[in-house]
């Protein structure tokens, strides 16, 4: 399956990217498919790709001890994850597993970082979206924590 401009236009992460910038994303991306219960990556894995979920449903969690997986939440279609691939030390802070058959856009993080340095406008948009995703995840965690404290 080939990634198209229309696929990217449907994704909120790329909302105000120019057509040229979207074509750049396509040039550094591929589509990967995962089966149910397949692990996309483990916590502490070194990551080289940033992902956006195209179809399906994924579970994100952390491991406290070997084999003890704590499920923190679901990644919804259109959501970006594995942002650690873009920032040093490129180590994943969580694991991600497919709950249903899933298709993801895998963006080469090295190429993405090069483009972020080369094209300031592209860089600002990309970094803003990544920061927003992390900020939302932090806010959701606070919300979850406060819910637990109220129990």
């Amino acid at each position: 399956m080939k990634l198209t401009l229309n696929d990217l236009k449907e994704i909120r992460f790329f909302d105000d990217y120019s057509e040229k910038q979207l074509k750049t994303i396509i040039s550094m991306s591929s589509i990967k498919e995962f089966k149910v219960k397949e692990i996309l990556f483990e916590q502490y894995d070194e990551l080289s790709e940033m992902y956006i979920l195209l179809h399906g449903s994924l579970s994100l969690g952390i491991s406290l001890a070997q084999e003890k997986r704590i499920h923190l939440g679901t990644i919804e279609e259109g959501q970006m994850f594995s942002w650690s691939a873009v920032f040093e030390p490129f180590i994943s802070t969580a694991w991600v597993m497919a709950i249903t058959p899933a298709k993801v856009i895998a963006i080469d993080a090295k190429k993405l970082n090069k483009e972020i340095e080369r094209d300031c406008d592209f860089g600002l948009k990309t970094m803003s979206r990544i920061a927003q995703t992390i900020s939302h995840r932090l806010s959701d965690t606070r919300f979850q924590l406060m819910n637990q404290m109220m129990l």
Binding site: G73, T74, G78, Q79, H136, F143, N147
Partner: protein, 274 residues
Amino acid sequence: MLNGKNIYKPIKARLTEVIDESPLIKTFVLIPEEEFRFGTGQFIELSVDGIGEAPFTPSSSPQVSDKLEVTVMKTGYVTEIMHNLKPGAFMGIRGPYGRGYPVEKFFGKEVLILGGGCGLAPIRSLLYALEYVKDNLEKVILCYGSKTPSDCIYKPLFSRLNSIDKFEAYRTVDKAEEGWDESVGVVTTLLNKVRMNLKNSVAVVCGPPIMMKFGTIRLIEMGYKDEQIYLSMEKNMSCGLGKCGHCMMGEFFVCKDGPVFTYAELKNTPDIWK
């Protein structure tokens, strides 16, 4: 007395059915002895003779005046007594009071509804009202969160909503149980999957205070303006007439000026999320 009627005197209503929604929540189906009309989002005082009364927003359709459904969470003395009532018992209904959802203002718009826990009760009534006028709406999206799948109320409502043209409904739980195949996470995570035309949309939030706070913040981050966000403030309403002051919030009496407010009206009020 108002127009010769004692405004504090409840209407007698017969309890015909008690529906278990979750371990702590039950829905009471009541047949009032007189026709009882209310606007969606308005609240009533529901009483048990000799015990006391408590405020609730009906969860049934405002189009139905001969039957009323009220969803009650067991939280204290009065609600515990209510939970022990059996069909055939009588209860009292006083009201309706306050300002409900301005459904006509939603005409021509997309409506995003964010609900949590027992906050789905007023929302269910709103959903019935919106379904009734769906030809005048662009679309209606419900995002609902509960702690666990067992705490999720009105379970058949979701598949029904997803079968109605223009309606979509999503659920999430904080903690999944065996067999749960929907989302996991707090209700705000569901907003990642909805796309709204913000210029032509309103949002409604109803649920526990923490959920309302984080939900409202996320809606503002999404681009909703303060006046596009409607909050259902379920406070300690008592008299229902703006006299006793139990539900005062800043300059407002929630029972009289609310319980539905826009965030623009409330945002400068201290401790609105308490």
